[in-house]
Symmetry: C2
Subunit: 266 residues, 2 copies
């Protein structure tokens, strides 16, 4: 009888947008230790709010860093999305089995998914047919307590690794900033229509010229109880499955009726 | 009898990602002249591939520029998304009636919508409840011929301005790089699953250290005849209505069945 083929250890790519030395990514590495072969490729400086930016006009560099015993890790000069692309092509030389991004210092629920470097890295992996998860803790502090976030990061990573997933699977996971024993469980939900109301702070430099700082108040326009915002306010971990087909099919159908484009050539 | 109230002129905000001096934005301004009061707020340098990036860690500045007779125009030190936010809050002090972005030098069909600063500016406007349109010409050249693109930009802008639209309407319009008389018309379509296959070019600096340039081959995995890629290959102008609710509802329903989260508290 042929010997049973030993199942290969999954390769876990870890990245973030707060930078390779952030406490959040360190918590994530420790959270998933033992679930596979971990490789870290993350920005060498904070890249919050970089969204899905890529570096076109300048080259990228990778620097090996010694942060975790027994784990290959690199700082990259680019954006979170650059990190994923470069990790696949030049570090791993293959697709990892899963990509984990975070744990972000601060919320990435509702519209934040679109500005977030953490989530954009996860979405980039999913575009490349790598199942991926972005994790964010609702606490911006550098000294945030990642205990509960790390606990749920491990549980959800195990759930995703435990069976074959949709190859474009990407989950946006947020963890409320409360002690672990106050968290009621995990809920699948949808992205709330909640966003920042911009209000730039205007100042003058010593030469009398104006400059502007982005500030804003967070407003929730969405009263649904199936949203990530509601879920987090009620002390559940929120999980929003995310897509990168941005086609608005409902609006497409509406416009097809009202525009009647086939009737004439312009 | 009271006199009929004169309809106010719509305010048209114009931005892009190639920078305020790019030929593409100049073509767009001229294309829509006369349709309303135009105000230009665009990056003061190229910002291609910036996606939905916003500037958090540094302040922004606005510089008035004299580029178009009778038109208020500014260069902004930030990203395309910053331009929209700053224009609404500090230049217009109100929402414009429409936001136009482009005309981009190069394609923004298929997955490019997610990397594109042009489209991210348009999406940002839609998040702010400003109907918006991003225009891109399938020609990267600085000397591209914008005649056909400008013609269709005006037609589509008039169509959108002619009646009340969904307040979150955002259209991704691409124009094939062929002479105007070869364009067969306008088609509503969906985003193709087509993307770049990354392949970083590896070089060494004079100190023997490696660096990497992002390159890649464009691959279309989507055989549908209702996609933007098909539409453009067949010499139609492609119009994809875009959404910013990134929830993957199909995957959400699947996971609700397979995860059975309510059964236990973790």
């Amino acid at each position: 009888m042929p010997s049973r083929k030993k199942k290969e250890e999954p390769i876990i790519l870890i990245t973030n947008d707060d930078g390779v030395t952030a406490p959040g990514i360190q918590s994530l590495v420790e959270a998933v230790r033992g679930l596979g072969k971990i490789v870290v490729v993350a920005p060498d400086k904070p890249q919050s709010g970089m969204g899905h930016a890529i570096t076109i006009g300048s080259p990228l560099r990778l620097h090996p860093v010694q942060l975790y015993e027994g784990i290959e890790a690199y700082g990259c000069t680019g954006t979170p999305v650059d990190c994923v692309k470069l990790a696949v092509d030049k570090v791993l030389h293959r697709k990892p089995d899963i990509c984990l991004s975070g744990i972000n210092h601060g919320a990435n629920h509702s519209i934040n998914v679109i500005y977030s470097g953490t989530m954009s890295a996860a979405v980039e992996a999913a575009i490349e047919s790598i199942p991926s998860i972005g994790f964010s803790l609702l606490d911006y502090s550098i000294e945030a307590d990642f205990t509960a976030a790390a606990h749920y990061a491990r549980i959800i990573t195990e759930m995703v690794l435990s069976k074959k997933q949709d190859k474009h699977l990407v989950l946006n996971v947020n963890i409320p900033a409360v002690p672990k024993d106050q968290i009621k469980g995990i809920k699948l939900c949808r992205q709330a229509y909640a966003k920042y109301q911009e209000d730039f702070l205007e100042r003058q430099d010593p030469h009398g010229r104006r400059y502007y700082w982005l500030t804003g108040e967070f407003l929730n326009f969405d009263k649904g109880r199936d949203t990530d915002v509601w879920t987090l306010q009620n002390n559940y971990v929120s999980v929003v499955p995310v897509q990168f087909d941005l086609t608005n099919y409902v609006l497409k159908a509406k416009l097809e009726k009202s525009w009647k484009l086939d009737a004439k050539k312009r």
